[in-house]
């Protein structure tokens, strides 16, 4: 079919010309047959011609109609029939309108998709409710927050699916000026929820996962409670003895000496605790240690073994397998403190006669300093919490051995600052292995470093 430029004049011309042309042809033949065959045949010809024309138009009208029906049923409508005469322009315009609609709906769809993708990427949950508080749409974060599935739950009442009593009360109270905090008794997921009015009488629910925030908050509270408790215990002892000495000035020298020894012991304990706290806060605030200082593993470990031997006083069998050629790059004092902590823990917690083996080896991945003991072992539920400050597996025993409860926290921090980590494996009744892993960048062979 021929292209017709869209211009009002040409459009009119192209629409009307074929029509007038057909009428003209019919009129011409009718007049001719009227002249040749007589008046009656003229009318007959005119009627026949006009009926033919009406039939022709009816045929195309039917095709347009069936096309419209099909195109409203199908997603992709059948191709428009090509027309003839005036119908050609009609079909052409229909096709143009159709294309324009398709383009527009594609644009709208794309905008909508972009919007949905954008809101899916949000870490906060969004639920859009309709007038009756039914779920109309929600993003994936909201699905995980409330255990919803958009495909399945669209159109369900939000109150039927989110049943936390605090949430339903908030929904009923309809005072949304303050955000709602939904506490979770099993503390796996704490949420802050806010309702936003939207259009008229509609609501959007925003939900935010505050689990980590709550956990940090709880840790801070626990830490302060623990520190005060740990500091108060020795202070109570010292204070008690001082009170006793004030009340009874005439105690025997022997008794006095015993009291002094105990007070000294407690004040040293406090001192150690405060030193550890200062170490921890220094470790937290400083940036990663430089690579400049190189520490010979041979010297470091042999010093540590001497100290451990002194602490053990012959009660344990201490053996070592040390790769003598290694050199560490980092803060020497910190590494000594980290490794020393692991070793002194092993000596403290392993009963007399136990075996402690120290190993230092290196691979492409880095160096591993490990301390294995044949002590009582640690139950699996304690393992993930061991490096928490003041966490104690057995409260009564740890204080006896003189620990501050901060040792492993310090070890963990030091290793983290050097890009390494602490691995703990333990079997109850068999013993434990504490492994300090340092990355390859922090380790060198002595031959290269020298």
């Amino acid at each position: 079919m021929g292209r017709i430029a869209f211009h009002p004049a040409s459009f009119l011309r192209s629409f009307w010309i074929p029509i007038w042309f057909r009428f003209g042809v019919i009129a011409f033949f009718a007049t001719m047959s009227g002249f040749i065959l007589g008046e009656r045949w003229g009318y007959v010809t005119a009627i026949l011609g006009l009926s033919l024309l009406i039939g022709f138009h009816l045929y195309y009208l039917k095709r347009v109609n069936s096309w419209l029906i099909n195109s409203s049923l199908d997603e992709s409508p059948p191709e428009l029939p090509t027309g003839f005469g005036a119908w050609e322009t009609v079909f052409f315009e229909l096709r143009r309108a159709r294309k324009r609609d398709q383009r527009r709906s594609a644009e709208v769809e794309e905008t909508l998709n972009r919007f949905i993708e954008a809101s899916s990427a949000l870490p906060d949950g969004i639920i859009i409710l309709d007038l009756a508080d039914r779920i109309e749409w929600c993003n994936p974060s909201a699905c995980t927050h409330f255990g919803l599935d958009l495909a399945r739950d669209r159109g369900f009442l939000i109150a039927n699916l989110v049943r936390q009593p605090a949430f339903t009360e908030y929904l009923v109270r309809a005072d949304f000026s303050e955000p709602l905090h939904i506490p979770d008794p099993s503390s796996t997921l704490s949420l802050t929820v806010q309702f936003l009015p939207f259009q008229q009488n509609r609501r959007i629910i925003l939900s935010r996962d505050v689990t980590r925030f709550m956990r940090v908050e709880a840790m801070r509270r626990d830490f302060i409670a623990n520190v005060s408790h740990e500091l108060r215990t020795p202070l109570t002892v010292v204070g008690g003895f001082l009170e006793q000495m004030v009340d009874q000035p005439d105690i025997s020298n022997q008794q006095r000496a015993r009291i002094h020894a105990l007070m000294l012991d407690q004040s040293q304990r406090m001192q150690r605790l405060i030193e550890d706290l200062i170490t921890l806060s220094r470790l937290e605030s400083q940036s990663a240690p430089s690579m400049e200082e190189s520490i010979s593993a041979r010297i470091l470990v042999s010093q540590l073994l001497d100290e451990a031997g002194a602490l053990s006083a012959g009660r344990h069998i201490i053996e070592s397998h040390i790769d003598q050629s290694l050199t560490f790059l980092g803060a020497g004092e910190e590494l000594r403190s980290a490794f020393g902590n692991l070793l002194s823990n092993a000596v403290r917690y392993t009963p007399a006669g136990g075996r402690i083996s120290v190993a230092l080896s290196a691979s492409d991945a880095g160096a591993v300093f490990s301390v294995t003991d044949s002590g009582p072992g640690i139950a699996p539920e304690h393992l993930p919490r061991l490096t928490e400050r003041f966490y104690r597996v057995d409260k009564s025993r740890s204080r006896e051995t003189g620990g501050t409860g901060l040792g492993l926290a310090i070890v963990k921090h030091i290793l983290a600052r050097h890009g390494g980590r602490l691995d703990i494996e333990s079997t109850v009744g068999k013993g434990s292995t504490f492994k300090a892993l340092l990355p390859a960048a922090r380790v060198a062979r002595a031959a290269l470093a020298a």
């Binding site: 255990g147 009442l157 039927n160 049943r163 009593p165 339903t168 008794p185």
Partner: protein, 234 residues
């Protein structure tokens, strides 16, 4: 015109009752979690909330029962609607019982703590059973909200796990009691708690069976596994 008005009002009433029942379910769910937290973490902070919630659960039971009776008398529901109302009436009873069981768990947990620490291993089995029971209850209520038959079917089959868990706890505790009679009173408390958890699982299973009844019209109580699967699949 008038007819549609009445029936839409009826639908709204029915939906409202269901929502309230599910809210009661949410309250009961929280109650169970709080009770288990008392046992698991020795966290006595929930003690007061549990008492207050227990009172509210009982009030809701009475109120919902009354609403259901009124609905039946005034609207005379039929077919699916009647099944729904009947299921709600029964579910309320089960929910209230679950609330009572939670109360029991809290009571025994507190008495255990007041008596002092007698450490008995095997707590982890009860933890597994408790979290299974809580998730069964949650799933049962979810299935009720969505009238999701396949989910309900899964819950019914899940109850076996809790029963097994209960038996294994029982066996363990019997051994401990035989070895050391001093553990008997604590072990008995733990048994009561385990029993309460097992009962919560049973009630959750009942609720799941009502869901199948509402959606399919088949009563699957005391039915064999095959009948149940057939009802779910039909």
């Amino acid at each position: 015109m008038d007819q549609t008005h009445i029936s839409s009002q009826f639908d709204a009433d029915l939906e409202d009752i269901r929502t309230r029942m599910l809210q009661m379910g949410g309250l009961v769910e929280q109650q169970v979690r709080a009770a288990i937290a008392i046992y698991a973490d020795s966290n006595l902070g929930h003690q007061e909330t549990i008492k207050a919630t227990e009172v509210r659960i009982n009030q809701m039971e009475i109120e919902l029962d009354d609403r259901c009776t009124h609905l039946i008398v005034r609207r005379q529901p039929a077919a699916g609607d009647l099944r729904l109302v009947m299921a709600i009436v029964k579910t309320i009873t089960d929910l209230e019982r679950i609330g009572d069981e939670a109360d029991k768990i809290a009571r025994y947990a507190i008495s255990m703590q007041e008596r002092g620490q007698v450490h008995l291993p095997g707590f982890s089995d009860i933890h597994i059973a408790a979290s299974t029971a809580v998730s069964m209850l949650k799933d049962a209520l979810d299935a009720f909200a969505r009238l999701d038959v396949s989910m309900a079917g899964n819950i019914v089959l899940q109850d076996k796990h809790i029963d097994n868990e209960f038996r294994s706890v029982l066996r363990q505790l019997i051994t401990f009691m035989m070895e050391d009679p001093r553990t008997i009173s604590t072990a008995l408390d733990i048994i009561w708690i385990a029993k309460a958890i097992e009962r919560i699982g049973d009630h959750a299973q009942n609720i799941a069976e009502y869901v199948i009844f509402v959606a399919k019209g088949t009563d699957v109580r005391h039915a064999s596994k095959e009948t149940l699967e057939q009802a779910v699949a039909s």
